[in-house]
């Protein structure tokens, strides 16, 4: 590292930690400032009730991309046991959707065969897109050598990695919605419902929204990195890695303003009155928070400010945490099944209808529930014999007509009512509960709109247009200011790729 000697990373989410670690390992003096009392952001552990803990937002996630572990020489955590998505059924006829196959009462042989082919086919597409996810998204205008190389890699992967016929099929399905794709492939409503829910969860889209194929491919790309595990350890793991690399971490202090002088970022002022000067400032915050709040429109061009302000960043998912005085009992599931990801999305129309409500500022009458029971694998998360359920509830819009003061209780009651159908008697076991609406997620984690992914993952806000064109490629119009969070390519989820790609971009620029 020649030019930039000091770096300030704003925000200690997983991407901020990863980016800081890369920079520190490259010889940069890195300070990381996090407004919460702990690092890890949505991937940290969250405590509620008396003695209960759950993953804050990322309740289940696939491993970070192996390149990150390799490049940062991280101790690999013990690989998680293979996990599946369980499509829960009221009648106890659950489906198990794994990496290598699907089983369950009533699932036809045709669907089982089609499932394996589908996972392979979309796995191949996701692998081909890896050339894009693993690199700075190339500009399409005025592209330089690096941009050209990425485009060439992508083209090569699509044409020769996939082969001609698969590439043609990819080009056909890439812009489609998952509803049509899954209807082409499968008969089982339960199977399609769970896969559709997996594709759309976290975004303001329904299965019939165009280009949701890409949302599924992004989920599929993460599946390729390994089986999902409960998000209880990654924050500590990354914090230790950052500390070991020499990153100086300050928590409980917010950045109030990114200081800009003559178009160059010079550091930041903090809520405790301190000012940190740095050659490079890296923001793990979302684009609206970074540009509209921390930098301020007065330092930016008007149209860019406008475009950032118009990005779609309203979250649709509430997190409901339940503490139970005994193990939940789902008919037809054994105790070991509780380690899997349990999905209540009985069919695709159910998911689409659940989405419809959110379009009009209403909580779904019958929301999709994405349920994890982390205490099934980690007894430390609840007192002996007790359990916790961590539930993503979709769709529950950020802008709620009735307001979230009323909305929280409505969401909790809906979740309990639905759960009661699948696990009779579960309501009586609840000893503590908590609802984090998108509004609460925004307030607690500083994510504008409470959107998991720091903004919709859609083609118009993706790749070389993430978060908006003019500040893609991790760089910003402010010299020395970079984005390293989910607002940057490739986006949300626990991949670590925005943090890694940003660090590589910064280091490549400094080496020039």
């Amino acid at each position: 590292m020649t030019k930039a000697k000091t770096a300030l990373v704003i925000g200690g989410g997983h991407n901020g930690l990863i980016c800081a670690t890369y920079l520190a390992q490259a010889g940069c003096q890195v300070q990381l400032v996090e407004r919460r009392d702990t690092v890890g952001g949505g991937a940290a552990l969250h405590h509620f009730g008396e003695g209960y803990s759950v993953p804050a937002l990322a309740q289940m996630h696939h491993p970070l991309h192996p390149k990150i572990a390799k490049e940062l020489k991280l101790d690999a955590p013990a690989p998680a046991p293979a996990s599946a998505i369980i499509a829960l059924s009221r009648e106890g006829q659950h489906l198990y959707l794994g990496e290598n196959g699907a089983t369950g009462t009533g699932l036809s042989a045709e669907d089982q065969v089609a499932y394996i082919a589908f996972k392979q086919e979309f796995g191949a597409y996701a692998k081909a897109l890896g050339a894009l996810y693993l690199n700075t998204a190339p500009r399409l205008k005025d592209f330089d050598l690096a941009d050209g190389t990425v485009l060439a890699k992508l083209g090569w992967q699509l044409r020769f990695g996939l082969g001609r016929d698969a590439m043609r099929e990819f080009l056909r399905v890439g812009g489609m919605n998952v509803y049509d794709i899954l209807n082409e492939k499968f008969a089982s409503p339960a199977l399609k419902g769970a896969l559709a829910a997996q594709a759309v969860l976290g975004n303001h889209v329904g299965p019939r929204t165009p280009t949701t194929a890409l949302n599924y491919l992004y989920a599929r790309f993460q599946e390729l990195q390994g089986p999902a595990s409960h998000g209880t350890q990654i924050a500590d793991h990354l914090r230790d890695a950052a500390s070991d690399a020499g990153v100086s971490i300050t928590t409980g202090v917010a950045v109030e303003q990114i200081m800009v002088s003559d178009g160059v970022a010079t550091g930041a002022s903090l809520s405790d009155g301190r000012v940190i000067e740095a050659d490079i400032v890296v923001s793990n915050a979302d684009a609206k928070a970074t540009f509209l709040n921390l930098v301020g429109p007065a330092q930016l061009d008007a149209m860019l400010t406008h475009r950032i302000s118009k990005t779609r960043t309203n979250g649709d998912v509430s997190k409901v945490n339940l503490a139970l005085d005994s193990a939940p009992d789902f008919a037809g599931l054994n105790a070991d099944d509780l380690r899997h990801r349990m999905m209540i999305a009985p069919d695709m129309r159910y998911v689409e209808r659940a989405f419809n409500a959110s379009k009009y500022g209403e909580i779904s009458q019958a929301p999709v529930l994405d349920i994890a029971c982390p205490s099934a694998v980690n007894g430390a998360l609840a007192p002996a014999g007790h359990h916790v359920l961590s539930i993503n509830v979709s769709f529950t819009p950020y802008r709620l007509k009735q307001g979230w003061d009323e909305g929280r209780a409505v969401v909790l009651q809906k979740v309990l009512d639905i759960l009661e159908d699948y696990s009779p008697g579960i309501g009586a076991k609840v000893v503590a509960s908590e609802v984090l609406s998108p509004v609460d997620i925004e307030a607690q984690y500083g994510i504008t709109g409470g959107h998991w992914h720091h903004g919709e993952m859609s083609i118009d806000q993706g790749f070389m247009m993430r978060p908006v064109h003019g500040t893609a490629q991790y760089q910003t119009p402010i010299e020395g200011l970079f984005l390293c969070g989910a607002a940057a390519h490739p986006g949300g989820g626990i991949t670590g790729l925005p943090g890694r790609n940003a660090a590589r971009r910064i280091l490549a620029k400094a080496a020039r």
Partner: protein
Amino acid sequence: MTMEKPAMHNFAQVLEPSPFHDRIVAHTLTQNWAEWNGYQTVRVADTVASEYFAVRSSCSVMDLTPMEKYRITGPDALDFLNRLVTRDISKLKPGRVMYAVWCNDKGKVIDDGTIFHLAPGDYRLCAQHHQLDWLLLSSIGFDVTIAKETADIAALSVQGPTAYSVLAAAGAKGLEGLKPFGIIETEMAGIKLTISRTGFTGDLGYELWTDPDNALAMWDAIFAIKHKGLLDVRLIGLDALEMVRIEAGFIMPGWDFNTAENVVRADHDRSPFELGLDWIVKFDKPYFTGKKALLEERARPARRRLVKLSLEGNRVPSGSFLFDRKDGTNVGSVVAHMWSPILKTALAYGDVELTKGALPDQLWAEIYYQKELKWRLAWAKCTVHSAPFWQHERRSKTPPLTS
């Protein structure tokens, strides 16, 4: 940021009459009308020649009401304007007017206009084209109120060597001390009005701003001087204005160059540097939209420039191509042209490509013209001017010269 709900447009009436309409109709012998920002506007009232000479040798009156006007107030009004335009608005004192341009993110000019600092923190922006969308878009993050007040203010431009004498005779108070680009709140014949010493003619002139209810009385007070036989006063239309503004060196967004955000083809928009407006681009002020792009542009050799040209001979270069020598290489084209009666020469604005940042040594216009319907070709050598073609000392003398 707040905005007022716009009044509903009356669709039965295609063009809006201005508050002066009743008087304008009486003076418009030709009924030669044009559209300007939705208003019914005079193109030629009588003859272009008589209107032109009213500006240059007596006193002209033009209806300025259709000029787009925006009121900008609120705690961040100054910061908002300074982020909008390329000039430093913190230097604009109350009671003063400043000419400015504003750019898009790429540093290409969206429009030009004048900013009136009416009272501390209270500004009016006058623009050639509708700008509300760009102003609102630019106001994200600023605590300002932007209100379109085009229809709420009746405005007349009174220009010419006897403009002061006419207005003083009409009873306007306090004009003698008003310097160019100054504003006063005053009264004339019992009408409360605002007068600024501004204009588009390169000569002595004023712009009068009042409530639409006062419009006809204000008009009558001015034209009473003509009717009494004291001094001539004439209504002028857009065609005469087009002549005097070229002589005075003013550019017309949308005519002399394509305004940014309306251009379809790449490179068909223009930066302030490319328009010869370097003097109003200030880099030693807080950030403004387009600053980064303009800094980058300035670091490279300029690629083109809008230049003022006078031509040999007596032919006007209507739509002419420009060449680096007679029968040479095409280096641009003429975007505005006129025969200047007062300077007795053909004038033009040329959009010229530069070589390594420099103009060609020579510029020639290829002029096609007709003689009794037969087309002929002539070549005219051009001279490049940096100063306006016409700028009379009357323009800046305070107290103003009287007739």
